[in-house]
């Protein structure tokens, strides 16, 4: 890895976190960040492949209400840099990227604690009408947010190259193949989280319809999505109709009652 690549990978990792916490335009779009890292490393295909692997692991894992969750995008960025620069392939990349993704939780918590200090200061500066200091506190918050991912990524890709190769060579097979198996199973966690947020108990039939279309009939996901959209549209129309009818029915019943 050359110096320019190290700088650019660090920059991508920094911007990733700043976007995730602020504008949220490329939020959870792991493949997008993977492709950016792939472009820097000159291997877009690996970027797509590893991006997809981490995307699947990250399904359903969202930092809701300010919780700290594993940072799979950073995992992907580091994994791509390591996989391409060491030439040891996808598994080696994941073996380094996934632990960093898990450790990112700790740094995120630390960052949030530091934000507290800056925001208390900002409130004070607002009272004292020191507006440039007030704005500075917000800039510092953004800098800290960026550092929580920029710093570990820099350490992993700048000094990790040789170290990482040694570690990977020392890793037992069950360790690396276990991690790629985990990558295959983790989407299940995402679906479970998603299902916890959805009315599974009332609407289990739709889950089964989707499963049958895909598992037994091998309809591609987009095809099943169209079936789902049709079912959703039907339900939407029916519910709107019953809202109107329900209101009319209530009036009708009321009149009948009056007649009696």
């Amino acid at each position: 890895m050359n110096v320019l690549q190290i700088i650019l990978i660090t920059l991508i990792a920094t911007l990733k976190k700043i976007d995730q916490k602020g504008p949220q335009i490329f939020l959870y779009n792991t493949v997008f960040w993977g492709v950016l890292a792939g472009l820097v490393m000159g291997d877009v295909t690996t970027g797509l492949t590893i991006g997809a692997t981490f995307q699947l692991m990250s399904l359903g894992v969202a930092a809701i209400g300010g919780t700290s969750v594993p940072d799979y995008q950073i995992g992907a960025i580091i994994a791509i840099a390591i996989a391409v620069s060491t030439g040891k392939g996808v598994e080696a990349g994941i073996a380094v990227g996934l632990p960093v993704a898990m450790l990112a939780v700790q740094l995120d918590v630390l960052g949030n604690i530091i934000h507290g200090v800056f925001i208390r200061k900002a409130q004070q500066y607002a009272k004292e009408q020191k507006w440039s200091s007030f704005n500075l506190m917000y800039i510092l918050c953004i800098v800290v947010t960026g550092l929580t991912t920029g710093l570990p990524t820099f350490l992993a890709v700048a000094f990790g190259d040789v170290l990482v190769t040694t570690i990977i060579n020392a890793m037992p097979v069950w360790f690396t193949s276990g991690l790629s198996l985990a990558g295959k199973i983790l989407p299940v966690v995402g679906f479970a989280v998603l299902l916890r947020y959805m009315p599974v108990k009332q609407n289990i039939e739709y889950l089964l319809i989707g499963f049958v279309f895909s598992a037994y009939l091998n309809v591609p996901v987009l095809g099943v999505a169209i079936v789902g959209a049709a079912l959703a549209f039907k339900l939407y129309k029916d519910e709107n109709k019953s809202l109107v009818l329900g209101a009319a029915g209530a009036v009708g019943q009321g009149e009948q009652y009056d007649d009696e």
Binding site: I18, G22, P23, Q24, F26, L27, N29, T30, V31, L48, T49, G51, A52, T53, Q55, L59, G60, A62, A63, I64, G65, G66, P70, L98, M102, V105, H115, F118, I119, A126, Y138, V173, W174, F175, A182, K184, I185, V188, F191, A192, V193, L195, R196, Y197, P199, V200, L207, I209, G210, F211, S214, A215, A225, V227, G228, L231, A232, F233, L235, Y236
Partner: protein, 267 residues
Amino acid sequence: MTNNQNKGVLTNKDLNRVGRRWFMSVETFNYETQLAGSAAFAMLPALRKIYKDNEEFLEALDNHFKYFNCQPWLSNLIWGATLALEDNEGLNAKDTVQDLKVSLMGPLSGIGDSIFFILIPTILGSISAYMAQEGSPIGMLAWCVYGIAIAFVRIKAVTWGYQGGLKIVNEFGKQLSVFTNAISVMGLTVVGALIPSLVKVTTPLKFTMGEVSQELQTILDTIMPALIPALFTFVAYKLLGKKVKLTWLILIVIVFSWICAAFGILA
């Protein structure tokens, strides 16, 4: 609330500015007041325009440093509504502003988190990962277009919140429950399809009885295709229901995978 009753001074330009400054959203997240720092930052220019008196302005700004936490995208509706109040009522509305924020952030977060942070990213993420595995960036690019388009809608949402004040947020809630129910049907159908198509876990175990060897996976497939993925999803769903924390569940999966890989139980 019709527009001619509006005594306010804020223009759409001011409201868009609030929307853009709210891109600060979670950047300042802290454990005491959560998103309040960003709220004050977003409101600042609008409040300065509303309150001619400097002391009043400082008091109103300080008010926004009180605890706030809501799904950031739908928060824009709240900002519009509270600004409409402050623009018309001034500091008389100070307590109402805080009450309004607190009462709306729960329901809006419930809807916003499940749709915008869980449902849509899971479905778009599955599709873009599915396509990326085959070497195509189309899914990912479509997601980028969605992200950029939504960013403009989010800025615009401040104006919607302002125009309708409380009314729009309340009515939005009623219509949204029908809409949310319909979208969840589509979501469930898609998730049903995603489990067998994205989770490709199989077992390499074989039974050998004398000279006959039988692969376990073949037997499982005759019972039901994608039996293992379906079973795992069910177990994970149940564990989450038993209040097992997400990070723990992820760690359990990793350790479980190491054991299964070491003994060749799953691949």
